[in-house]
């Protein structure tokens, strides 16, 4: 439990640290608020976590999801919020975050984002980082890699996904209004997804070394 909370805090740290960077990415093809929105949300998450005492992983993730929904706004608020809410459902009653649980969480999160946002991969959104990350994670797990290694593979795939968003036209979200002019710019939401995965990976690595 403390572990999961610490992991969420690691996500919060990276999002808050990269607030300006994410906002600049959004400025290029969106409306210059993604970093501001996400940082506001994770500041609130930090405060909520400090005050609350969730019983299980599901409780932590539900709190994160609800907090993001009620503080982020914009497109990313409902999307990340729903993602965490769905991940909460599959982690109800669980206290330990193993590879199988993480796979379930990622899958549930992707489902939530798709239900809410009606996007598919290739539309220059966070899904272009998250779906390949999930696939890479499963693949690594299937190959018997460690959790830490599997997360590394997922993060690598998310990074590639971010690069891929530079090459495509946005057809969902605010950048879609730009059409061709969106090419050459990386998607802000894909980038925040990548950043969270990389923070999680670094966290897991520290943990595994500490153990």
């Amino acid at each position: 439990m403390a572990n999961v909370i610490a992991a969420i805090e690691a996500l919060a740290d990276v999002i808050i640290a990269k607030k300006e960077f994410l906002t600049e990415l959004d400025a290029a093809i969106g409306d210059a608020d993604h970093g501001i929105n996400m940082a506001r949300g994770f500041e609130a998450v930090r405060a909520k976590l400090a005050a609350a005492n969730p019983e299980d992983i599901g409780g932590v993730l539900k709190l994160v999801g609800m907090t993001l929904i009620s503080t982020v706004g914009g497109a990313s608020g409902p999307l990340y919020g729903t993602a965490f809410m769905r991940a909460a459902v599959v982690t109800q009653g669980k206290a330990i975050l193993d590879a199988a649980t993480i796979a379930q969480m990622l899958s549930a999160a992707i489902g939530g984002i798709k239900d809410r946002g009606k996007a598919v991969r290739g539309e220059k959104t966070m899904l272009d980082a998250l779906e390949p990350a999930y696939e890479a994670f499963i693949q690594a797990m299937d190959k018997g890699e460690s959790l830490s290694k599997s997360l590394q593979a997922a993060t690598k795939a998310a990074a590639d996904g971010v690069e891929y968003t530079k090459t495509i036209i946005a057809t969902k979200g605010r950048a879609s209004y730009l059409g061709e002019r969106s090419i050459g710019h990386q998607d802000a939401g894909a980038t925040s997804t990548y950043l969270m995965l990389s923070a999680l990976t670094a966290f897991a690595q520290e943990q595994s070394q500490a153990v």
């Binding site: 400025a27 409306d31 608020d33 501001i36 929105n37 929904i69 009620s70 914009g74 605010r174 209004y177």
Partner: protein, 332 residues
């Protein structure tokens, strides 16, 4: 960034306080939320209208809360759609038993957040309907995109659907009228200069001294292309032709026109634009029943403007010309 503010994080909160202090006759705050509702809310036995979106578009939408227009307005962070719980509070505060119509501008975030709020309100047994405004012809309509954006024409939806609700129509009828407005509504804008989101601290884009952005959105998001600045007449003609080529207007038809300033453009320039728009419509024998010129849907201090044309039928005309009494839109 040079602004008359205290703290970039507090601008929405302090603005809302300032609005309520200025206009207690019109609006009150839903305690603890960034929601303004009529001083008389909930109005029993009337369909209520709720709109909202990111802040920075003032007087949209709080300025349109009052008799004949909105019942509630939800203010998100600057240029960021409000969260579902805020919208949900607005719906609860204004419902007078006849249901609530949500007027949403077509942005992914707005649509999702308002939909989540709808789910919450419906769970409480409140009747909720929604319309999505997508008047901006700058953005091509296609099944491959999010669709067109909602911009200044949204104010006509507030006005006309608001008048319909005031007449006592039921939720389905108010929704239907709002949808007719949206079907008949086209807008397009351009920007001469960027604006600065307070929390970002710097302009969201830059333009060269002779450059303008055509098809500009209202959130500092880029438009369709940039070009060298042209005369007011050429620019007006360009935007109007894009608008008209997307609607079916015949000689003798009646329209309402809005020349909307984005916040940093003097009224003088808006009237110069109107001169050309009026002349072009008159040339085509299109009758302008009413013209609105001013800052109705802004983008902070952005310089630029948009043109909106609404095709009227007798119902829409009567409702448009009906009285309204709100902080930013008063009409006998």
């Amino acid at each position: 960034m040079k602004k008359v503010i205290n703290n970039a994080e507090q601008v929405v909160e302090e603005m809302l306080q300032g609005i309520v202090l200025a206009h207690p006759q019109y609006v009150k705050r839903v305690e603890g939320f960034n929601v303004l509702v009529r001083a008389t809310s909930p109005v029993q036995g009337k369909v209520a209208l709720v709109s909202g979106g990111g802040s920075g578009h003032e007087p949209s939408h709080g300025g349109y809360v009052g008799r004949g227009m909105l019942d509630g307005a939800v203010a998100g962070a600057v240029f960021t759609s409000p969260t579902p719980d805020q919208v949900y509070e607005a719906v609860k505060a204004v419902d007078g038993g006849k249901g609530v119509l949500l007027v949403i501008k077509n942005y992914t975030g707005d649509v999702m957040n308002f939909e989540m709020a709808t789910e919450m309100a419906e769970a409480d047994g409140i009747q909720v309907a929604k319309v999505v405004v997508n008047d901006d012809v700058a953005v091509e309509n296609s099944t491959w995109t999010t669709g067109r954006r909602g911009i200044a024409g949204t104010v006509f939806v507030h006005k006309i659907a608001g008048a319909k609700a005031e007449q006592g129509a039921d939720l389905a009828a108010v929704q239907k009228t709002a949808e007719k407005v949206i079907a008949n509504l086209r807008s397009m804008g351009m920007a001469l200069s960027p604006c600065t989101v307070p929390a970002a601290g710097k302009p969201s884009f830059t333009l060269a001294e002779n450059e303008v952005e055509i098809g500009m959105g209202i959130h500092g998001e880029p438009g369709t292309h940039r070009e060298a600045i042209r005369t007011a007449d050429e620019t007006a003609e360009h935007l109007l032709s894009k608008i008209l080529s997307d609607m079916t207007l015949a000689a003798g038809n009646e329209v309402a026109v809005m020349i909307n300033g984005l916040g940093g453009t003097p009224l003088m320039e808006l009237y110069i634009v109107n001169r050309k728009v009026a002349a072009l419509l008159a040339e085509k024998n299109i009758k302008t029943a009413k013209t609105y010129v001013g800052n109705y849907m802004t983008s902070l201090e952005m310089a630029g403007f948009s043109i909106t044309v609404l095709k009227l039928d007798s119902e829409l005309k009567e409702l448009l010309l009906a009285p309204a009494d709100t902080p930013a839109f008063v009409q006998f």
